[in-house]
Symmetry: C2
Subunit: 473 residues, 2 copies
Amino acid sequence: MPKDATPDFVAALAADIPGLAIRGEPARYHEEPRGRWAGRGPVVAPGSTGEVAALVRACAAAGVGIVPWGGGTGLVGGQIAAEGAVPLIVTLERMAAIRQVWPEENVLVAEAGAILADVQDAAEGAGRLFPLSLASEGSARIGGLLATNAGGTAVLRWGNARALCLGIEAVTPTGEIWHGLTRLRKDNTGYDLRDLLIGAEGTLGIITAAALKLVPRPASEGAALIAVPGPGAALELLALAQARVGEGVSGFELISAAGPAFLRETGFDIAMPMDPMPDWSVLVDLGLGAGQSAAEALEGLFEAAMEAGLAVDGVLATSEAQRAALWHLRESIPLGNRAVGAIASHDVSLPLSEIAGFVAEAPAELARIAEIRINCFGHLGDGNLHYNAFPVPGRRREDYAAVKGDIQRCVHDMVAARGGSISAEHGIGRLKVADLERYGDPAKLSMMRAVKAALDPAGIMNPGAVLRPPQRG
Amino acid sequence: MPKDATPDFVAALAADIPGLAIRGEPARYHEEPRGRWAGRGPVVAPGSTGEVAALVRACAAAGVGIVPWGGGTGLVGGQIAAEGAVPLIVTLERMAAIRQVWPEENVLVAEAGAILADVQDAAEGAGRLFPLSLASEGSARIGGLLATNAGGTAVLRWGNARALCLGIEAVTPTGEIWHGLTRLRKDNTGYDLRDLLIGAEGTLGIITAAALKLVPRPASEGAALIAVPGPGAALELLALAQARVGEGVSGFELISAAGPAFLRETGFDIAMPMDPMPDWSVLVDLGLGAGQSAAEALEGLFEAAMEAGLAVDGVLATSEAQRAALWHLRESIPLGNRAVGAIASHDVSLPLSEIAGFVAEAPAELARIAEIRINCFGHLGDGNLHYNAFPVPGRRREDYAAVKGDIQRCVHDMVAARGGSISAEHGIGRLKVADLERYGDPAKLSMMRAVKAALDPAGIMNPGAVLRPPQRG
């Protein structure tokens, strides 16, 4: 079992690694966005990959657990060790350089501590786009985004964090440095350990830098909010859009009436593009090449959708400001959710052809447990729904404490029965360890445990995240 | 160390697994395309995933090595165990079903033994495209294509085999079945073992089925052969093309004069689109959406390239037959190479901005070793060059036996010095085990060995491929 990161241990680390910044125990490293857990542990900030390797070796020798810390924006507790031995929290915030940009290769190398928005800016400065985009991009850091294989609103076109990474530099759980910062598009020299460390949530090593894929900036961009009869029609609309502009569909976000309603109910001053907002709508975002017009493509799509009965109303953004306003509405939905206070949140994905059935089935199933409100929204093009349960007016989330587990179980059982995932983009962290055991494939779990034990024999890397630590003695 | 797959062992297998087809020892399972090695071992053909699991358990218990067999088209000996204990060859050819197609999800599930061309046909039958495309598509099978993370001519746009796979069903080295045939676009439930098994060349398990990504068929396709001043200009032409049509560039293949010359020299009757063929040319293939014209886009691109000094001549395919003829020329180049007889073949990749320097530097460096001819061609958009050395007229490959190793070392050293890969798409197999040890990152190699030992403790999965078996006793 891991040992506590004691003051003596930290003092010895500081003496051995002169460049290491000792941060004490600031509260912000013990908090997480949803307020579910309180962490513990001293915080250190290495300034170089060599220092990361040195401290990992010291932790491995002493049996002290490490919690790697990015921007602290994770939603499943991967960055918070509330139980077990007191860990050493290792923040990568001092390693935030954009090391180099190769615009002609569409590659940028950033250190793990670089904030996503800064990477986006560096790409823009080189005339390119780094397409990873999510609500926390002003504080989330590259290391954490890769460790959690972050998703967001541009996955449909450009893939998740894993798909945007060509190579990584990382420190292994035994304190070796893997110099894997390749800028190659093709490299079949051995096992794909890059993709193994990406998404491992810091349990198989610490990513210290990454070679990231950039893409050309679309020449013409535009967005529309299109009211649709329901999620099934929305998916047909997506197919129609892709048949017309191919990969030009950059975003396809589902919005249900509950999202805007919660924003109004809790006093957010956000302009609504339609009044009343429809039961179901999609935010369609296009990014097209030179010589094409996103506005014309959206108009054509909308007309074709109306003819096909896939659209009932629509608002086309005719300026960049209007497009930004549509996206602002979409990205504000989680704020309204937090203000209302969710009983239970679910980050699920489904095979595309199972979505309409799930959305039709779920409310009645859940109504048998409790009277609730549902906000169903998310990245429809990826099959990724955020399916969250809320109190009815006049009641509070606390009133549902007794049925919260039943609601989660009900949603996850329905999703699993349809071949879906109980964590589409947020990961496992510490919140979903038991869910992974319940819903995960047993052979895959066996292989995961074997890989973890092989690469981290001392069990020091983010103990308790993703996999339950082995019981000893 | 593994034990021999004896006649007694095979007889016991046959008795235990009634459905298993016993193939004897047909020569074709002991051969490979380049004629470098001769394999050995009895061949069995399971008819179901359960039978694969049963035979793997039997091999694990007996310590008998397994060589998984796809279409036998690999170029690095991954399917041929010429040394060590006699293995059991397990062909997946009886498991060749297309289990299901979901056109509305752009997903197809195929068994490992399905031939690539049959998968392409099934996708076409559903109005979709399975974009993986390579010269051996008439015999290569899905299991082998995934095990080697196959590349080919469509990687630029759609990625390699790994990028085209959503989920796999596989038998682990301990004989468990991993039911991982997800059709999900996003799933962050635990370690990415799918991408670990893909590209592991059968050393970490046997893929028995895969959920594959389909894409919409482009509405308008076209191709052009454009003569360019050199590889550097060709890469600028690629950037120009992508700026104009974005992801619409489906293929971008470099052809040097040696390829067509070898075809003529060895008597292939292939029409040449230009006479004489230029020193350097690129085959540009476009696939565009509805309402766009690939022919017009190619004309516009060619004019812009001429203006920018990136093109010196060009032939636009104005019919599908002409487009097919251009591709036929490109795909015939390996035939000419084989007819001439390469001294040494290199499947390398480079960062895009290093390609022009490498191509300029390499001939002079190699000329210091021997007087040779070079055919440099390949998937330029991916940074993937096939850089092959041939005898000068009047000499034979055998005359160069003494310097073959020096030539390979020289090419690989130059590639490694520029941050490239010594195996871009063909894999490691048995041919490049020592190269991987020489050029691979030591920390990555340590992790690979740890993963192999953890997942395949009996060392039975494709022994000797990718990693040298541990020395014991």
